[in-house]
């Protein structure tokens, strides 16, 4: 009975957003500028269900809240099931998705007002929310893969929402194709797992590995794990496939907040959390390094960007790197915890940046200035007094992301860093890179986030005209900011066990217990290591956050160090340019992949058009024309003119001559008859 109602709720949770999509895509024009009421209602219902599931987190232990599946189809030994698996992790994720989705819907009402494709925008948000719920609820890798592709599609649609802009259209294509690279690996990985274990169900896979399906060949399991992780590399924008995420900022800002900061990009992390028990230590090591490289590199790039959304985009990449690194070092809880806290404060940061851009855009619109970039931080400055709510919300979430005590980011980041430190204690050697990357990225994160705050909200306005026209955004936009900024406080994640901000033993750690890794990683060792390094990690992370913030204050608030001179000094060894040009990764791809590919396509097109088409195909055409010319000639001149007409002429000739015998004289006929008779008689006489 209980299960039944849970199943109904889960189905509703999944399909309400799809209903919103269906209504708005078919009848959107009828609703006009009231379209948001439909999706707000349905997404609100979904939020209520998500809260209902979330409330179970406190009652159930590690038992799943709902686990059910039905057979979808069977061909021979190949059978595919669809089903739901809601455990505590999924319930928390559902709430994150539903809450941020709802707030973004609410925020978009004002942000997208007057857009010619207003209803379609909400329809796309609906289909995205539907697919994201599908990933969260899925109990099998196949179902997850289906929804995985669907979020890719909705991301493509939303990045390219303003497809009239060429850059947006290109960005959407880039995102889609880059994701595809990862998804191919994921698919192969799923298939390896299926053919070795015979199941797509996550629980089945864990059981299979536990029973020794790979006991003879752990390398294959490592390969399968890494291949499945490739999906996460693409979707969660990890090095080397992170290039699409900064470009994805061409989409509307609320979309960036929902998809490219809080939920979809976290899907990769969530997927790794789900399959964590079957990842081998070797696979996890690789995952940790990928995460570490991503975290550090993206943070370095973020320092030199001037576009407010691009700074946040690289910050997102960097934070996702943190989560992946945490999973890699075995600190599974920490990774998921960081996902949750990050979703709140990063969504808040993005919505704040949206609020700033919205205000800038309106100011520029009033000034009839269409050349100034409303997203460039060099055009802002001193907005603190004009937009107090946005400023405070952004400031609070910046404190959270920088890892300042009393804020959620401090707890989760601290746990991640403790994980990397304990990993080094166990493995030594090259794994020193992981804590260096972690703490390094923490310093840089604090630095560039405060740089963003100072450039945008403090100092003197760069442009007095714009500044005087800027206004605070309306309430439907600021309400989500206030709520999300509130959720950036640590206290929401530590209740009811403690209100001590230095202790993360709250409901969260109880709700997401350590799982056993059945592929050979000793989780007790990890847990113990975490416990030991907890305090040192906290001290170091407090120190590095302080250093980062202090440097930022010196550089950008008091301007006691000239940032330009510093940049020039660093540029002596090309460091500034390296960061500003994003480590030239796009250029490297350009040289290594696009150029050879384009050259190859050019060659193919040459072969195809100039040789095959022009010579071979057209040659056939030429031969055919000649042949038909000849055969036409033969047909007309010989068959038609000679044979066919010949028969006609022959008949005419005989007719003309034979008609002379018909002279009308009966006696001649008779004579002929008699002659014929005589002839016959003579002939017969011969035999």
């Amino acid at each position: 009975m209980m299960d039944n109602s849970n199943l109904t709720l889960a189905l509703l949770n999944l399909f309400l957003p799809l209903l919103s999509f269906a209504i708005l895509i078919f009848f959107g024009k009828k609703f006009g500028d009231k379209a948001h009421l439909v999706s707000l209602g349905l997404i609100g219902g979904m939020l209520a269900i998500a809260i209902r599931f979330f409330s179970n987190v406190f009652h159930h232990g590690a038992e799943p809240i709902l686990e059910t599946s039905i057979q979808w189809f069977t061909t021979g030994k190949f059978s595919v099931d669809l089903g739901f698996l809601i455990n505590n992790v999924a319930a928390i994720m559902l709430l994150v998705v539903a809450l941020i989705s709802f707030l973004v819907h609410l925020y978009s009402v004002e942000y997208m007002k007057g857009d010619p494709r207003y209803s379609r925008y909400f329809a796309f948000l609906g289909v995205f929310t539907f697919s994201m719920n599908g990933i969260v609820l899925a109990d099998s890798l196949v179902m997850m893969y289906i929804f995985w592709e669907l979020v890719g599609l909705s991301s493509y649609l939303l990045i390219g929402f303003w497809f009239e802009k060429e850059s947006a259209a290109n960005a959407s294509k880039k995102a889609f194709l880059t994701n595809r690279v990862g998804d191919i690996g994921m698919f192969i990985g799923i298939m390896i797992l299926f053919f070795e274990i015979g199941s797509f169900q996550i629980s089945g896979l864990i059981e299979g590995v536990h029973n020794g399906a790979f006991s003879g060949d752990m390398t294959l399991l490592t390969i399968a794990g890494v291949l499945v992780f490739m999906g996460a590399i693409g979707k969660s924008a990890q090095f080397p496939l992170h290039i699409w995420l900064p470009d994805a900022m061409e989409g509307p800002t609320p979309v960036s907040a929902l998809i490219h900061a809080a939920t979809m990009v976290a899907a990769g992390v969530y997927m790794v959390v789900r399959i964590f028990p079957i990842l081998t230590p070797d696979a996890l090591e690789l995952i940790a390094y990928v995460g570490g490289i991503t975290a550090l590199m993206a943070a370095i790039i973020a320092i030199t960007q001037n576009d407010i959304k691009r700074v946040l985009a690289y910050s997102t990449v960097s934070q996702l790197g943190y989560m992946i690194m945490a999973l890699g070092v075995g600190a599974y809880q920490a990774g998921f915890f960081h996902l949750t806290t990050h979703a709140m404060f990063k969504a808040c940061l993005f919505l704040c940046s949206g609020s700033v851009i919205y205000a800038m855009h309106h100011a520029l619109h009033e000034l009839k200035d269409h050349d100034t970039d409303p997203q460039d931080m060099r055009n802002m400055g001193g907005l603190r007094d004009k937009m107090p709510i946005t400023f405070w919300a952004m400031f609070i979430s910046t404190l959270a992301i920088s890892g300042v005590p009393f804020f959620s980011g401090f707890l989760s980041k601290d746990a991640v860093l403790a994980g990397s430190l304990s990993y080094y204690h166990h493995h030594h050697g090259w794994s020193l890179f992981l804590p260096i990357a972690g703490f390094g990225a923490a310093v840089i994160t604090a630095f560039y986030m405060f740089r963003l705050i100072f450039m945008t909200f403090f100092g003197n306005p760069q442009n007095k005209d714009i500044h005087s026209h800027v206004q605070e955004s309306p309430f439907t936009m600021t309400f989500p900011l206030i709520l999300l900024a509130g959720l950036s406080f640590a206290i929401f994640f530590t209740l009811p066990a403690t209100i001590n901000p230095f202790d993360s033993h709250g409901w969260f750690t109880h709700a997401v217990p350590m799982v056993d890794n059945v592929a050979g990683l000793n989780m007790h060792e990890v847990e113990e290591g975490l416990h030991h390094t907890h305090h040192s990690a906290m001290m170091i992370s407090l120190a590095v956050a302080g250093i980062g913030i202090l440097m930022s204050i010196l550089f950008y608030l008091f301007k006691s160090v000239d940032a330009k001179q510093m940049a020039n000094a660093l540029n002596k060894i090309k460091l500034y340019n390296l960061s500003f040009n994003k480590f030239y990764i796009d250029e490297i791809y350009n040289i290594l992949l696009y150029k050879p590919f384009l050259a190859f396509s050019w060659l193919c097109s040459k072969l195809d058009w100039d040789l095959y088409d022009q010579k071979f195909i057209d040659g056939w055409g030429w031969i055919t024309i000649k042949l038909s010319d000849k055969s036409g000639e033969a047909d007309y001149n010989w068959l038609d003119q000679k044979i066919v007409d010949g028969f006609g002429r022959l008949t005419q000739y005989f007719g003309r001559n034979l008609k002379l015998t018909q002279n009308g004289v009966v006696q001649n006929y008779l004579l002929g008859g008699i002659m014929g008779l005589l002839l016959l008689i003579i002939v017969f006489q011969q035999f």
Partner: protein
Amino acid sequence: MDSLLSYLIIAAMLFSMGIYGVVTRKNAIAILMGIELILNSANINFIAFNRFGGMQNLDGHVFSMFVIVLAAAEAAVALAIVINLFKNVGSVNVDDADLLKG
């Protein structure tokens, strides 16, 4: 001379004369007369074969009687045609009746 051959020769001569008349005469009445000769030559053949062929019954005689009757009917129809020909063309010369000339 009482042999089949002499009868056949007479019949053949009559037949040839009939043919000659039919082919050469221009007058339609004369052509009819030629036809009569041909028919009668056939009659002679019937009678002759009946007599020398060793037939018990009078089959040849019966055929001859039929031919005579037929010849009478034919003459009646032919004369009617000739009268009509004369009415349309104005002569009984068959050379003038060449409407079917090609």
